[in-house]
């Protein structure tokens, strides 16, 4: 009982305002919240939703895991955007806590990596909190009806793209485009704790 109370208290202290983690089948939270995209325009998750599905990637500029995966994220996002998947990358970090995640740095990174999809600022970290996201990178894939069908990692090897054995997100995107349910629906990987505002 003490353990449960302590865990709840600790969670409340460390993760204020964090919603419970989304479960498979849940709808897109905060989909109408406007976020500033690197092109200067405002964008929302609902506004980029695709006919076949929607991919939301919480990522950032500085985290080594995010940086290791961002080339793969760019390739997947760019490719599947052409197949009816709406794609958006969201940076939830407070640049005061992590200066490398400033808006200007995001613009530069999106250009360098050739993002053909929005890379937007979660100005209050509220969108990340609504998703229950805790780290970068963290991927959420919703199907055509806006239901969560995959959550977790890009693949099973952040450090070495050539040594990947299971391409979780790629496989999930293929399934969603085909109107099928991804399997597994959830995976995990190490990541950098979000620097909440």
């Amino acid at each position: 009982m003490r353990l449960k109370i302590a865990t709840l208290v600790l969670s409340a202290v460390l993760l204020p305002g964090i919603a419970s983690a989304l479960a498979t089948g849940d709808g897109i939270p905060d989909k109408d919240t406007k976020m500033l995209n690197v092109d200067g325009a405002e964008v929302s998750i609902g506004g980029v939703a695709g006919a076949k599905g929607t991919l939301v990637v919480f990522t950032c500029n500085q985290c080594p895991y995010a940086k290791a995966w961002e080339g793969r994220i760019a390739t997947l996002g760019n490719d599947y955007a052409k197949q009816g998947i709406g794609v958006i990358a969201v940076n939830p970090n407070d640049p005061n806590k992590q200066p490398g995640d400033s808006y200007d740095a995001m613009k530069q990174r999106a250009k360098e990596k050739g993002f053909a999809f929005p890379y937007a600022v979660d100005a209050t970290s509220g969108v990340a909190k609504a998703f229950g996201a805790t780290k970068t990178p963290e991927v959420y894939l919703f199907d055509a009806s806006g239901k969560l069908v995959y959550h977790g990692a890009v693949d099973d090897n952040s450090e070495n793209a050539d040594a990947v054995k299971t391409h979780y997100l790629n496989d999930a995107l293929d399934a969603v485009v085909a109107g099928k349910a991804p399997s597994p629906a959830e995976t995990k990987a190490l990541g950098c704790g979000i620097k909440f505002r």
């Binding site: 353990l3 600790l10 080594p64 450090e159 995976t187 995990k188 190490l190 990541g191």
Partner: protein, 193 residues
């Protein structure tokens, strides 16, 4: 990543035995080089390396080391050189380790750095006064995460407290402090005969 160990259980025991031996080795003379020593070499030579050894290990291998430690309490801390809250909590972790190691508490450090950053990891450990070998995470991340706590998302830092039977008694899914560690560990020391 291919395992360096002959078999999981025996290898984990070998590594942990070497970790304990190295921890107890007293520095009779300064290290003769900055080269990181393997755990068994460090213990055998009685030399404290300038940079501690960093041994690749999977989640199950670290957990096996927990269960075979013989300690009253084992603290497993997941950290990385680039993780600011990890670096910020480190002094408290090390101070707790120094204060409680003679009371049967063992500290197992597991770096989440990429293998290409091993040198940076060892440099940081040395700068924090870590004079015992520790681990560099190896193998599948999901297996590692679920080994320690299926409720853990994988965000760093994270710290797990195990009792004398190797049962997880508390998960810190975020930074720790000296007092928060003491709050969870002290009762386990009293409870242990």
């Amino acid at each position: 990543m291919p395992s360096r160990f002959p078999s999981t259980r025996s290898a984990a025991r070998l590594v942990f035995a070497a970790l304990l031996a190295s921890t107890s080795a007293v520095a009779a003379e300064p290290a003769t080089s900055g080269r990181a020593l393997e755990p068994d070499a460090a213990g055998a030579a009685g030399i404290v390396p300038t940079q501690p050894a960093l041994v690749p290990a999977s989640g199950p291998q670290v957990l096996d080391a927990v269960k075979t430690s013989g300690a009253k309490v084992v603290i497993v801390n997941l950290w990385a050189t680039w993780c600011v809250p990890c670096r910020e909590e480190f002094p408290d972790l090390m101070r707790f380790h120094r204060d409680y190691k003679d009371r049967g508490v063992r500290l197992l450090l597991v770096s989440g750095d990429f293998s290409s950053e091993s040198d940076a990891a060892r440099e940081f450990l040395a700068s924090q006064g870590v004079d015992f070998p520790s681990y560099l995470k190896s193998g599948n991340d999901e297996e590692l995460i679920n080994t320690f706590d299926p409720q853990w998302s994988g965000a760093l830092p994270a710290t797990f407290v195990y009792d004398a039977k190797g049962q997880r008694r508390h998960s810190f899914l975020g930074p720790v402090t000296y007092s928060s560690l003491e709050h969870e560990v002290a009762p386990l020391l009293v409870a242990t005969p």
